[in-house]
């Protein structure tokens, strides 16, 4: 009995020793040298693994940061939208560099075609995914650019920052949004845009991406941008551009003066987080004046569209 036990012990012991020696040399030969900074940087990253930085996870973003710091001595073009400036500063200090402060971004829904604004002409009873519905048809309200309201963006959000409002049938972004861009990719109609949060969280944007001619756009949705160009004319900062019957406000050039919001005939331009307007006598006059001149231009503008419709 004892003999058997002894043989077993000797054999196993020998096998173990040989394996240990082999493993030692193999480990020496195939040693992976990793910059210890990667671990340090990885430590400060938010570990959300959302892909908002453009890399497939926080670890690879940390690797990219260290690589960029070693090769180019700068972190240009790399940004963690989730962590924001604080995390980027911390990461940069580990790498002995400095980063420029970047404006935080937020996802903005550029469609206001709610159930009330764009009443349903048909009913959809297919599967609840925008990707399929987009291939199938234009939408319940008839607008081929508008939100389908089936919530692919909600499903794509890892941060609980976007929800459907059952009353309007449109998604709503809350302040948990970290601008990772997942919803932008998920939306088959490219309705969602990442825009700077703006000073005091104030933002102005055109809440419509309809490129149809004014008459058609208005027929499908009461709050569509009809491409009348009034906002373009009233803007003193060249922030508004017109293309394909659609206005676009450049968030960097925009000085948040709100003139365009006042003149928009369809209320397609939205202002967010602004205090309620105080109506002073002087400004009121001004507003009225601009409005009357604008309605005139609007009328002449919309006439040919009416012609083409009839």
């Amino acid at each position: 009995m004892n003999e058997v036990l002894m043989y077993a012990l000797i054999t196993l012991g020998l096998l173990g020793t040989i394996a240990a020696v082999i493993l030692y040399f193999v480990a020496q030969k195939f040693k992976v040298v990793e910059d210890p900074k990667i671990d340090l940087v990885d430590e400060v990253l938010p570990k959300a693994n959302c892909g908002g930085c453009g890399f497939p996870g926080c670890r690879s973003f940390a690797e990219a940061l260290v690589k960029s710091a070693n090769e180019k001595q700068s972190l240009e073009g790399l940004n963690c939208p989730v962590g924001g400036n604080e995390v980027m500063k911390e990461a940069a200090s580990i790498l002995g560099l400095e980063v420029e402060e970047q404006d935080p971004l937020i996802a903005v829904i550029r469609c206001n075609g709610s159930k009330a604004n764009s009443p349903a002409k048909v009913n959809y009873d297919g599967p609840s995914t925008c990707a399929f519905a987009h291939n199938l048809y234009a939408g319940e309200g008839g607008c081929q650019f508008g939100c389908l309201g089936l919530g692919d963006c909600v499903a794509s959000c890892d941060f609980d920052a976007i929800h459907m409002n059952p009353e309007t049938g449109l998604p709503v972004v809350n302040d948990k949004c970290v601008a990772c861009g997942a919803c932008v990719k998920a939306c088959p109609r490219s309705i969602i845009e990442l825009r700077p949060k703006g000073k005091k969280d104030r933002r102005i944007f055109v809440s419509c991406i309809n490129q149809d001619k004014g008459g058609i756009a208005k027929k499908n949705c009461g709050v569509a941008c009809i491409g009348c160009s009034i906002c373009f004319k009233v803007c003193t900062f060249d922030a508004i551009t017109m293309s394909n019957n659609l206005a676009y406000i450049d968030p960097i050039k925009c000085k948040l003066c709100r003139k365009c919001v006042e003149v928009c005939p369809t209320n397609a331009i939205h202002e967010i987080n602004f205090p309620v307007r105080k109506k002073k006598a002087e400004t009121e006059e001004e507003v009225v004046e601009t409005k009357t001149t604008m309605t005139v231009t609007h009328d002449t503008k919309s006439d040919p569209q009416k012609d083409s419709q009839s």
Binding site: K121, V122, D125, G126, P127, T129, A131, F132, N135, L136, Y137, A138, G139, G142, Q144, D212, I216, S308
Partner: protein, 445 residues
Amino acid sequence: MIALKTFKKGGVHPEENKISAHAPIQKLPFPKQAIVPLGQNLGAPSKPLVKRGDEVNTGQLIAKAEGFIAANLHSPFTGKVLKVDDAIDSSGYRRPAIFIEVQEEEKWEEGIDTSEAIIREIKADKQAIIDQIKQCGIVGLGGATFPTHVKLMIPDGKKAEYLIINGVECEPYLTSDHRLMLEKGEEMLIGIKILMKALEVEKAIVGIENNKPDAINHLSELAKQYAGISIQPLKVKYPQGGEKQLIKATVNREVPSGKLPIEVGCIVSNVGTAVAVYEAVQKNKPLIERVVTVTGKAVKKPSNFMVRVGTPVQMLIEAAEGLPDNTGKIINGGPMMGKAITSLEVPIVKGSSGILLMKNEESRRGIPQTCIRCSKCTIACPMGLEPFLLAKMAKLSLYERAETEKIMDCIECGSCQFTCPSNLPLLDYLRLGKNKVGQIIRSRK
């Protein structure tokens, strides 16, 4: 009794409901305004040749084919071009179209024979036939609208042995091909002869399902005078009208995955296409009209109409004595593969084969439950795929894997969804997956 031929793999047998089968083809009055979409064929949309204010004759070329897979477009009416602008198509999207104000009095373009007389002698040679078909903008009228002249150009090194004519009409409700076979049988057979000459084949087989005995008898009688054409009765099974299924059923050959029927020496064409080919080659008449079935259980007068392209759907429904009150869905095509339309202003195009009005209660979808792994969809799939798996992959965006599982082989027949006891939207997800995988494949090129 000898068992009738059919395809082997999968298939279902939905209720046939061919309620308009005895309604003769009627001519429809002209609309006041016609909308002729530019993208009526598979492939590139045509390029308009007319502008606002132009006077057009019936049969005049109004849009030219651009690209290889493309077809010419001719004016279906005499009148004035109102504008070339976007118009909604059956899905509700706006796509370019030519708007024509229709004039009561019809003036045909010169050189078109509008008489009813049948011309039996085929004078044109192979190349002249293909050129004439191309000129007249003939596309496959089975639904896919693939330009016929492209189909007739057989790639080098391949040889066609059989011309298979699809008179199956396996979609429930639809009867347009059935009526055409009964009323234009002679024209159709001459059309087949023309196609045979263009393809240089000796044998043509017309596959007809056994639920149309009158058409089988009528054509068998006529075909005696035409050498090489045989009529093949087939067992009723959906989707026998699918190209690959029909080849399997008639000549017992299997088209390999991802390949065209010419790989096994076959060319498949629809009966409607054969009639259109006859009119193009013998009468120089372009493709401007087609037979459309208007049907449904609640429709007062289920009918078959000879409709000019560009006629709004509204007019067809009025001619069938109006929209029933409890209509839930208006479907462009048959109940299996058709898609619901979003507006009655949508025009009839070259590919419309029927307008089906479904009652509210029958149009409703069942509530989807979880998959119970009963494998009914796999048994029903005529392409030998696993629909439940592919649908799941499309749902989870696993497109690479879906591609290796041959999602692109799916013919979108809907047998899987039809047979699913859990009411799962399998076909919808398969369509989504096919679309995405198609994009991935195209981006590789």
